[in-house]
């Protein structure tokens, strides 16, 4: 009995509950559906604000297979909306585009989803990019712009074009050219209309050439040959298969010049590689002479262009040998020709490699060129690895056996990037090597491959191989003993400490200094002579990190025993003077704590100051760290009273009191400011900061610690340039004026030192090198003022 009661109550309750839910559900569903639908059509209503009809999804009724369209909705008779998906710089752009059914123009473009680079490709989501699509005719889709993101724009254009084609076929009844008709049209364009094409590929051996089909063109008589050619563009590896670009090229059978070229398939990046489809580019090939292929231009995608030209040259060679029957120079013949060109015409070449030890060098073969009577020149075959680390570059270079200068240079094989490193195999590159002095080749004073910054890696490796070949030539043929690094180091050390017999490394016994690699104590037997510091300090150039590496000798009596340069990465030639012995002697005997300035050395002022600054740091390190004594302060640097007056207008006379206070690196001098009656009314600091360049200033402060004026004595900051330069972003917006008249300096006038120390004056974007370094120095001075309680302050 109890069971029935249980079952009954539960069932009753559940039933009542379910019914309640059922009715409520019936009541609320329409509201919920209406809300959801409104959400879905938000984008469409944005394009057609005044359309209140419904949207009918007709995707199933159309073949959307090979088009970017994923959804198609009809808005009554007014418009049709395509939801398309395509890739820009990154895959996964979803866009809703509307076509008006009356005018068949595009009436709206809304980005639903994208993940292009922020700030670049993502601009397509912005209002003003999208407004250019309101009522845009499908023909001028290619003229849309508004973004520098060429790749994204290219993606948008290709997608819109294919949608426009689809639209025109489905709604305007246009008949599109089928792929087969297109190929025939292209072929006829570069031969003759209604010409017949007979496939004669089987008659030729096309292996090893980029040609995939050879056709005889006939318009009554055979008048031309048409080649179908494949070449690797910028990218050949796609998700599942490799795809090559393809083009047709035709040759006239009488003149054997090119009649024309048409690109059939290309898969390179939209906006770059696909420029070869441009009719203007293709027109250059009309009636082009065989050897004029090199000066075809007009495509910025150098890899694609290089690939096309390379394949075209192979086709020409094939055409010459197979059709014209002229002999095409084979590779061995070319090598022989090159060897003659760089020595003596039809010299007798005999391989002499056996009697040389080639293990340590990049030279792979040594050949002597004999003009019949005596050996005139030596030809080295050299291999080095350039930018393409999976392959080598092989070249031959010849030396005259009397003058030992270079006679000539030819590249035998290279596989560097087309348009960049590959330009090493270029006739105008060879010319510079005719009678080039040996020293230029050794020091690498040659023009770089493909322009100054065209192919840095290949150029750098090439120069290293030249240095190697020249030293090999010097040791084997000029009997010069080339100093090894160990020999050079012991020679330099003995120049620093001639009587030293033993050098013990002591770097680990002292706390490290950033620039000191190692340092040694020099002993003559048991007597200590002094220290040698192996220093690697920051160089002078500010565009990128460069270094100066040298040995510094400091004798027991704290005098320099010389500065021996070891290596540097300064711009070529800037540091050469410092390797000379007479530069090192400038330091000989100078007391390391006195103030000394080595005057300019042959036009390398920046490197000179950098080197001196490095030597000063090592001297300080030697005295403070090694000897544990306070470093003597350099002498005060004076400046004209006029500069001081500009910093402290109310003062009359100034006198330097810096020597009464501690030395602070950034402060050249400290003056007392006196009024007419000679009583002290404040102080003026004369100091410097390393902004973009050296900045020197005077800064007045009264007894209460409130600053007067700050006057820039010397500067060469370039804030105007900062407004337009592009290598560091963000640029300076110019709102704070230009240095030194900038309003930013007012932050330091009329304020107390203590307030300066508590608040952080913020930098100015784009010129922060100046503002940051100057503010830090001014804060050091404010701190110095209270630490040293200058005039009882702090």
């Amino acid at each position: 009995m109890k069971h029935v009661k249980i079952i009954f109550t539960l069932t009753l309750i559940v039933l009542v509950a379910s019914m309640m839910i059922y009715f409520v559900e019936g009541f609320t569903t329409p509201y919920i559906d209406a809300y959801n639908e409104r959400q879905a059509n938000l984008a469409k209503l944005d394009i057609l604000p005044d359309y209140d009809g419904s949207f009918e999804d007709v995707s199933e009724d159309y073949d959307l297979e090979n088009s970017p369209i994923v959804k198609m909705e009809l808005a009554g008779e007014v418009a049709v909306f395509y939801t398309i998906e395509f890739g820009g710089y990154n895959p996964g752009i979803t866009v809703l585009v509307g076509f008006d059914l009356v005018s068949n123009n595009i009436i709206g473009f809304r980005v639903i989803e994208q993940n292009e680079t922020a700030g670049l490709g993502s601009v397509i989501t912005e209002e003003d990019f999208q407004t250019q699509f309101d009522n845009l005719s499908p023909d001028d889709i290619d003229s849309i712009g508004g973004t520098t993101a060429v790749v994204t724009l290219g993606g948008v254009k290709t997608a819109l074009n294919s949608v426009a084609d689809f639209h025109s076929v489905e709604f305007q009844g246009a008949v599109l050219e089928t792929p087969e008709e297109r190929i025939i049209r292209l072929k006829e364009e570069i031969t003759e209309v209604d010409a017949t094409f007979t496939d004669i590929t089987s008659d030729y051996d096309i292996s090893g050439s980029p040609i995939s089909k050879v056709e005889m063109v006939n318009n009554g008589s055979d008048f031309a040959i048409l080649y179908t050619v494949e070449f690797a563009g910028y990218r050949i590896q796609f998700e599942d298969e490799t795809r090559f670009n393809e083009y047709f090229v035709s040759f006239d059978l009488d003149t054997h010049d090119l009649i024309g070229l048409r690109v059939d398939k290309q898969f390179d990046t939209a906006g770059f590689g696909d420029q070869i489809l441009d009719p203007v580019f293709e027109a250059q090939f009309d009636n082009l002479a065989q050897d004029a292929i090199d000066d075809v231009a007009g495509v910025t995608a150098s890899v694609t262009l290089g690939g096309l030209k390379g394949s075209l040259e192979d086709v020409v060679n094939f055409h010459k040998s197979e059709i014209e029957g002229t002999h095409v120079e084979t590779y061995p013949e070319m090598v022989e020709r090159y060897k003659d060109e760089i020595t003596v015409v039809d010299a007798i070449i005999n391989d002499d490699s056996a009697n040389y030890d080639l293990t340590e060098t990049m030279v792979t073969k040594v050949e002597l060129a004999n003009d019949g009577t005596s050996d005139v020149a030596v030809i080295y075959t050299v291999e080095f690895v350039g930018y393409n680390t999976t392959d080598v570059v092989e070249y031959i270079i010849s030396f005259d056996l009397d003058t030992h200068d270079i006679l000539g240079f030819r590249v035998l094989y290279q596989n560097e990037t087309i348009g960049y490193g590959s330009l090493i195999e270029d006739d105008d590159f060879y010319i510079q090597f005719e009678d080039m002095p040996q020293l230029d080749a050794q020091n690498g004073d040659i023009d770089a491959i493909a322009g100054t910054s065209g192919a840095p890696d290949t150029t750098f490796a090439f120069k290293a191989s030249l240095y190697d070949v020249v030293s090999f030539h010097q040791t084997e043929f000029q009997g010069m003993i080339v100093e090894t690094d160990e020999e050079r180091q012991s020679r330099l050390w003995s120049e620093l400490f001639p009587t030293a017999t033993v050098f013990t490394k002591v770097t680990r016994d002292y706390s490290a200094h950033y620039d000191v690699e190692e340092f040694y104590e020099a002993y003559d037997g048991a007597t200590y002579l002094g220290n040698i510091y192996h220093v690697k300090a920051e160089g002078a150039s500010y565009s990128e990190e460069t270094y100066l590496e040298f040995f510094l000798g400091i004798a027991e009596d704290n005098t320099f025993t010389g500065v021996k340069m070891w290596d540097d990465s300064e711009t070529d030639g800037k540091a050469d003077p410092f390797y000379l012995v007479e530069y090192s002697d400038l330091y000989l005997g100078e007391d390391i704590e006195t103030d000394y300035t080595i005057d300019e050395v042959a036009g390398a002022t920046m490197t000179n100051t950098a080197l001196q600054y490095a030597v000063l740091q090592i001297s300080i390190y030697h005295v403070e760290e090694y000897l544990g004594l306070p470093f003597a302060r350099p002498a005060n640097v004076d400046t004209a009273d006029a500069n001081l007056l500009l910093a402290f207008p109310t003062a009359v006379t100034f006198n330097s009191v810096y020597l009464d206070y501690a030395y602070e690196a950034n402060i050249y001098n400290l003056y007392e400011a006196l009024d007419g009656s000679g009583t002290v009314i404040g102080y003026v600091y004369y100091g410097y900061a390393n902004g973009l360049n050296l900045i020197e200033f005077t800064w007045g402060v009264d007894l209460s610690g409130t600053t007067q004026e700050i006057y820039i004595v010397l500067e060469s900051e370039t804030w105007e340039l900062a407004e337009t330069q592009t290598y560091t972003t963000p640029q300076y917006d110019g709102t704070a004026g230009y240095f030194p008249t900038t309003t930013w300096l007012d932050n330091f006038e009329g304020v107390t030192f203590s307030s300066l120390l508590n608040t952080e004056i913020d930098d100015i974007i784009g010129v922060s090198r100046t503002t940051e370094s100057l503010r830090d120095v001014l804060e050091i001075i404010a701190q110095f003022h209270s630490d040293e309680s200058v005039g009882g302050a702090g």
Binding site: K2, H3, I6, L10, T11, V14, L15, S18, I21
Partner: protein, 101 residues
């Protein structure tokens, strides 16, 4: 509409039948006072007393290893009720439960 009715009836009948028969078939005798103590407890099964649920707490009280104050949601009146109940209800062997407040 009809589907809703069928479904709810079928489900509830099935479950109710299962539960009721189970309560008979799987009957386990337990301390008769347990259910009364459970009824006195707040029955929120919040577990804050450290025991997994009010039934476990009731059992713990009967086994004298839980203090009534462990039951956080429980009020003073509830604790007094339980103590009074246990004071007049010995178990079969006449033993009284020492209730810890």
């Amino acid at each position: 509409m009809v589907v809703v009715i069928i479904l709810s009836v079928v489900v509830s009948v099935a479950l109710a039948a299962l539960l009721s028969f189970a309560s008979v078939a799987l009957y386990v005798e337990e301390d008769p006072r347990l259910q009364d103590v459970v009824d006195l407890l707040p029955n929120q099964n919040c577990g804050l007393c450290g025991n997994p649920g009010c039934k476990a707490m009731a059992q713990a009280i009967l086994d004298e290893d839980a203090k009534l104050s462990q039951c956080k949601p429980g009020t003073l009146e509830m604790r007094e009720d339980i103590r009074d109940f246990l004071l007049d209800h010995p178990d079969e062997s006449g033993e009284f439960v020492k209730v810890k407040m």
